[in-house]
């Protein structure tokens, strides 16, 4: 049989190598939607990893993206790509003796960071525990749906949980496409154009801090925040993972604003600053207060410090 084929002059014109090549190209071209195959789709399809692009490439990607967002949301977005400030490593402090569980931070974050309203995504989860309870043991079953007339409820305390910005982030280790990584200022970021939505990172995160866009994110046009960062609060796509970025679009400015959750907190329980600056508020907390980090035994080394001021 094989001998016969070899002798056939017509079979020689398609050897195995060119057959495979042709098939690959054919399949690849099928993967691109033809109905909308304008230049923008091609560019998005072949967009490089954020850290592999040079300044010109980033500029052209931002230009294309701003146009896409303007078409889709009818809002002029300004997408920043501000890099980390030198000599800065961000740290966060949360005073558990002050938090009253009012959830102002949850919704300030939703608004600032363009989280999907439907399906609902919250980057901050506030847990309620009973005072005196061995809360570490019941951490995973803690009540996050409490809804009394007024907070704080008698005999309870509250613990907001969001991305802990680990120095040793398990989510980064498991990402098969390197779509998430730790920046020099310690913020763990996601490139939404590189995320394939496998959700390994969500399984790896011990804090439940990562959230998946199960549907196309929906936000009322009036509530969009047009001041966005490429690695932060720009509108997400269906099927990508997102998380807290310490408000990268605010904190990386110089002078840098506080994250939205810090600014809204009515009891001043949230502290933020530069861990490398001995004069910063966060350093004062670490040096003078009783601090702990969540699930420290996992060696994730979070830069999110819970403390008791009294």
């Amino acid at each position: 049989m094989s001998k016969k084929n070899c002798n056939n002059p017509s079979s020689k014109s398609v050897d195995r190598r060119s057959f495979l090549k042709g098939t690959a190209f054919g399949l690849a071209s099928l993967a691109i939607p033809f109905g909308t195959s304008d230049a923008s789709v091609w560019e998005a399809f072949f967009q490089k990893h954020f850290r592999e692009m040079n300044d010109d490439e980033i500029k052209s990607v931002i230009k294309r993206m701003e146009k896409e967002y303007a078409d889709e949301y009818k809002t002029g977005f300004k997408i920043k790509t501000t890099g980390p400030l030198p000599g800065v490593k961000f740290g966060y402090g949360l005073d558990l003796s002050r938090c009253i569980g009012c959830r102002r931070c949850v919704y300030a974050c939703v608004k600032e960071n363009n989280q999907s309203r439907e399906p609902q995504i919250h980057w901050i989860t506030v847990l309620q525990f009973e005072k005196g309870e061995k809360w570490v043991n019941v951490f995973e079953e803690a009540d996050r749906y409490y809804n009394p007339q007024e907070v704080p409820e008698e005999g309870h305390f509250y613990m907001p949980v969001q991305c802990q910005q680990c120095e040793n982030p398990p989510c980064v280790k498991v990402c098969p496409t390197q779509a998430t990584w730790k920046e020099r200022d310690g913020i763990v970021v996601v490139d939404y154009n590189w995320c394939i939505g496998c959700r390994y990172c969500m399984a790896a995160c011990p804090y439940g801090a990562r959230h998946f866009n199960w549907g196309k994110p929906q936000i009322d046009k009036k509530e969009l925040n047009p001041d966005v960062h490429y690695l932060g609060n720009r509108p997400r796509y269906k099927g990508v993972v997102e998380k807290c970025t310490f408000c990268i679009q605010r904190t990386r400015e110089n002078p840098g604003r506080y994250p939205a959750c810090v600014e809204i907190c009515p009891v001043g329980a949230r502290k933020f600053g530069n861990l490398l600056d001995p004069e910063s508020e966060i350093r004062y907390c670490i040096e003078n207060k009783r601090v702990f980090r969540l699930k420290e035994d996992l060696n994730t080394s979070p830069k999110f410090y819970y403390f008791f001021a009294i």
């Binding site: 102002r104 009322d220 604003r257 001043g268 530069n274 001021a309």
Partner: protein, 186 residues
């Protein structure tokens, strides 16, 4: 006297007047003579300056139910008005040492008893800070969050809890829920 010398005198007189005016306007604009950058104290509307009413009144140093300030119910320590207010000039406060301070720096008054809080407040750990993490920060006076007469922090209504996964139904309707934060006015 001729016209020339008159104008000379006018000029000489006007220079210190202009200088004084400039100085006074500078003092008015640079009003934050306080040690920490704080917004103005949260007075009830129309209540300040106290001397508006109290100027002609004799200070009654007897402890009693107040007839005019009936909204003030003191639930602080076992103290009363003149532990903090200055009987000599009601537009100011008086420390235990006898030092007179303005309402704009009332943190020194609170700090007399609440020393550890005052220490933490100074470095920005007790209380709310806004502004910039590596730049100018805005402080708040103790009395912006704690009523000096009833300092306990008032309970708040919590914003809605997250939707339980089992109750979540993804719908592409035009009724996208609005942010509940917008409905509260504080």
């Amino acid at each position: 006297m001729n016209l020339k010398s008159l104008s000379k005198i006018l000029l000489i007189v006007s220079i210190p007047v202009i200088l004084l005016l400039m100085l006074s306007s500078y003092a008015a604009s640079a009003d934050d003579t306080t040690d920490y950058p704080v917004p103005p104290p949260p007075f009830s509307e129309g209540i300040f300056p106290c001397s508006g009413c109290h100027a002609g009144m004799e200070a009654n140093t007897n402890r009693r139910e107040l007839s005019f300030h009936e909204d003030i119910k003191l639930k602080h320590f076992d103290g009363w008005c003149f532990n903090c207010h200055n009987p000599g000039d009601r537009d100011t406060l008086r420390l235990a040492s006898g030092k007179i301070i303005s309402f704009k720096e009332s943190e020194y008054l609170c700090g007399q008893c609440h020393g550890t809080m005052f220490r933490d407040w100074k470095v920005g750990v007790h209380g709310k800070r806004t502004g910039f993490w590596n730049g100018k920060k805005e402080y708040r006076l103790c009395v912006h969050c704690h009523s000096p007469h009833q300092p306990g922090f008032k309970p708040l209504k919590p914003l809605p809890p997250p939707i339980r996964p089992e109750d979540s139904k993804y719908k592409t309707s035009e009724t996208i829920p609005l942010n509940p934060l917008d409905s509260i006015k504080e």
